[in-house]
């Protein structure tokens, strides 16, 4: 048992480190190190522009989407090499946020279901950051129940005509392409009537509207489709097989090992170590200490759980299911930490200004943003279902809509 690289891994790491040292945009390092939760913002520049420049440089150096095959813009690297790259890329990895959905979900889906010509054209441009992709799955009527989606695609000659609405699409406003799942047959049970496409986001009839979120920010979009034309050649997988295609996409979403989730613990430990209350330092308060210790072992538990997964990759094995606990643990932790950090400040804990002397409003921001961490990418409840069913082998839910034609499923609760 050790934390050491194998000789090959060490060699790869040193290669990556050297390249990053020579090429990384170091003037953003301090700013990137500070921001830990939610969408990254740069003070003077647009993260998308800076990110595109970094991604392009990486692609030129052979470091973009490095686990992809070379002919599609990658490096043909092994999973463990990808993890090592992420570790070395460090804070600069935050610059790649606009490309993560493309790299992690859309790209792999195109790779699995696209034509060879599509793969050779689209994937290298995705890898180099020239094109940004978004994922158009969630709908107002289908969040956790993605297969309940209602956006229609109807065949007309060699084209499909799409009408409907998607929601919670990150980056739709700056994306060039989108991965779109639609309903092509409402007369069969819901999982059977779906078909996957990709489309040019500049297509006529696509309208992107920002959503003002509960935390006051605008990071996601609604996307409306009005008679949007998509050529049949942009279909991924067979007609009616969209659900299986989407599983490939979602499986890749959950495979993101080594990407450290924010827990809020380091910030909280520092905050409690410095916050003077009437009874002394917050960290000396027994109730706070107990909470801190609880959060500490969750944070370290997640860290070493990911180390176990990395070790499996290093041995060329498939990681076990342990990593599925990450977001479930960290999401509610952020919320709890924010609440307690504010509690420690009494009435002043409600103040949000960045000029506040304690913690510059970061916990207040955490409080308002953290509900999304328990919802996006699988709600806590869906994640518990996944653990119960896929890890523990418990029965799936009894699905009352399973064998019912989609257009016969009730749409109102009462």
């Amino acid at each position: 048992m050790n934390f050491d690289d194998t000789p090959q891994e060490a060699e790869f790491r040193s290669l990556a480190r050297k390249w990053i040292d020579a090429n990384a945009p170091k003037h953003y390092e301090a700013e990137l190190s500070k921001s830990s939760l939610g969408r990254i913002r740069l003070e003077k520049e647009d993260i998308v522009d800076v990110g595109k420049a970094w991604q392009k440089k990486k692609a030129e150096g052979g470091w973009a989407c490095l686990h992809w095959p070379k002919e599609y813009g990658g490096r043909g690297a092994s999973p463990i090499e990808k993890v090592i790259w992420q570790q070395e890329e460090g804070v600069y990895g935050k610059l790649t946020q606009p490309f993560q959905i493309g790299e992690g979900m859309c790209g792999p889906t195109v790779m699995a279901f696209g034509s060879e010509a599509h793969k050779r054209y689209y994937l290298p441009k995705l890898a180099s950051g020239e094109h940004i992709w978004c994922q158009l799955f969630s709908e107002p009527a289908g969040g956790s129940d993605v297969a309940g989606l209602r956006t229609r695609a109807e065949k007309q000659g060699d084209n499909w005509i799409v009408n409907g609405q998607k929601i919670w699409t990150s980056g739709a406003h700056y994306s060039d392409y989108g991965l779109l799942i639609t309903r092509t047959d409402p007369n069969v049970p819901k999982h059977k009537g779906l078909t996957m496409f990709f489309l040019d986001m500049k297509s006529k009839g696509v309208e992107v509207r920002p959503i003002k979120q509960a935390n006051g920010m605008q990071e996601f979009n609604e996307v409306y489709f009005t008679d949007v034309v998509i050529p049949d050649s942009q279909r991924l997988g067979a007609v009616g097989d969209g659900w299986n295609v989407s599983l490939t996409t979602l499986m890749n979403e959950r495979m993101s090992i080594g990407s450290r989730l924010a827990t809020g613990f380091p910030e909280m430990l520092e905050f409690c170590s410095n916050l003077m209350t009437d009874d002394g330092l917050a960290i000396d308060d027994p109730a706070t200490r107990s909470k801190l210790a609880n959060w500490a072992v969750k944070a370290s538990g997640l860290k070493y759980t990911s180390y176990r997964a990395i070790s499996s990759l290093s041995k060329g094995e498939r990681p076990g299911p342990e990593n599925s606990i990450g977001k479930l643990v960290s999401g509610s932790m952020l919320q709890d930490i924010a609440t307690h950090a504010m509690d420690l400040q009494g009435a002043a804990g409600a103040l949000t200004g960045a000029d506040e002397e304690t913690a510059r409003g970061q916990f207040q921001q955490m409080l308002l943003s953290s509900p999304s961490m328990r919802i996006a990418g699988g709600t806590d409840e869906i994640l518990r279902n996944i653990i119960a069913e896929r890890v523990l082998g418990l029965p799936g839910d009894i699905r009352v809509d399973k064998d019912v034609p989609f257009n016969k499923i009730p749409t109102k609760g009462r």
Binding site: M1, N2, F3, D4, D5, E9, L269, S273, I283, P286, R289, S290, L292, A293, N294, A296, V297, K298, S300, G301, L302, K303, Y304, T305, Y307, R308, I310, S311, S312, S314, K315, E322, I325, L328, V329, E381, L383, R384, N385, I387, A388, E389, V391, L392, G393, L394, P395, G396, D397, I398
Partner: protein, 375 residues
């Protein structure tokens, strides 16, 4: 990165599981639970024959000369089987104290007996309610003898010798505490068994009256040695707790799959599924923290104090959580004497206290993190 046990260590775990499945079924645990024996003597003998008692004891002292990683995998299986033997007191506490601070003669005297199953050892630390602290130690050492009372002492009524924390000065300073080695069969010590929540692991009160004692380690070093012993035992016991957590989770899962109510397996209800998923989460966090503790223990890393506290807290929480909700998944049947759920519940909640309570270790962890940050 190779943050995992080796194939050989995993084979040893499999061997331990196979052995314990055969020799330590719930029926055997119940013999002790029902008071028919103070511990399972046959099992103890078998563990010695398998080489498990001396796995981390060097060969020159009669052990197998493997390491602490090997001991960790065995500890996990001991917890999983709920083994009713004085393994933790003898191997994690007494043997570790001897290995850390014993003279060659002391090691030569006791370690081979531990490895062969001929001697049971323990640590006599507590004197009534409270957590580990130098000022709580009143038992007096003078002129090579000890006078005072220790309670509770794990396995105190069946132990052959004890490492005893005693006062050799009058202040609250660490340096006023020293450790002693006492042959409990040599007279001057009276052992009284105490009833406790988990009868499969005995507790006793030891009264020392002019009991002959020899120093273990240098005078005044007692507290420092003790802290190290507790850290090492914390990691090892955490593996027992992880083994117990996993078993409790499995029992709950299996019952949820078998038990039908409202016309369907209860494991198909989300309320039950989510409870089991949360048990899996806490057991997984604990296991990962334990692996880090195992690494720190086996390499004697400077991170050990922090890693041990984290493993201890995480594993204590997980075992309490899993054993409690295992009963809940079982419903009424889980509250019968006949079902085994309560044996894990009992073990979880006594193991949680053995080396000092959860809140004590929480305090330790935060202190140690602060110390590290300050350095």
């Amino acid at each position: 990165m190779n943050f995992d046990f080796s194939d050989e260590q995993k084979q040893m775990r499999d061997a331990a599981r196979k052995f314990l499945t055969e020799k330590c079924p719930p029926k055997a645990v119940r013999e002790v639970l029902d008071g028919k024996a103070p511990y399972d003597k046959e099992l103890w003998k078998g563990l010695a024959e398998m080489g498990f008692l001396g796995v981390a004891i060097p060969e020159q002292f009669g052990g197998a000369g493997a390491g602490h990683l090997e001991l960790c995998v065995i500890a996990e299986e001991m917890g999983r089987a709920n083994a009713p033997v004085p393994f933790s007191s003898t191997v994690y506490l007494a043997a570790e104290a001897l290995l850390l601070a014993g003279s060659d003669a002391q090691k030569q005297k006791w370690l081979p007996k531990i490895a062969s199953g001929a001697a049971i050892g323990t640590l006599a630390l507590f004197e009534g309610k409270g957590n580990p602290s130098p000022k709580a130690i009143k038992l007096q050492a003078s002129g090579g003898t000890l006078n005072g009372v220790k309670r509770p002492v794990p396995d105190g009524a069946i132990a052959d010798f004890a490492v005893v924390a005693a006062r050799t000065g009058s202040t609250e300073r660490d340096s006023d505490i020293s450790l002693f080695l006492v042959d409990l069969k040599a007279g001057g010590v009276e052992a009284k068994p105490l009833t406790n929540v988990d009868p499969t692991r005995g507790q006793a009160e030891l009264t020392f009256t002019k009991a002959n004692a020899e120093p273990l380690g240098a005078a005044g070093e007692g507290w420092s040695i003790l802290t190290q012993v507790l850290d090492r035992a914390a990691v090892l016991l955490a593996f027992e707790q992880v083994g117990g957590s996993d078993r409790a989770l499995e029992m709950g899962r299996d019952y949820a799959l078998d038990r039908i109510a409202f016309g369907r397996p209860i494991g198909s209800f989300q309320a039950v599924k989510h409870m089991l998923a949360d048990m899996y989460v806490s057991a997984t966090l604990a296991r990962s923290n334990c692996y880090y503790g195992a690494w720190a223990l086996s390499t004697n890393a400077s991170e050990l104090p922090e890693a041990a506290a984290a493993a201890r807290i995480s594993a204590t929480q997980a075992f309490q959580h899993c054993s409690k909700n295992n009963i809940q998944v079982h419903g009424g049947m889980g509250f019968t004497w006949e079902f085994d759920c309560h044996m894990y519940y009992r073990r979880a909640n006594t193991t949680a206290l053995t080396l000092g309570s959860l809140s004590y270790w929480e305090d330790q962890l935060i202190d140690r993190m602060r110390k590290k940050n300050a350095a």
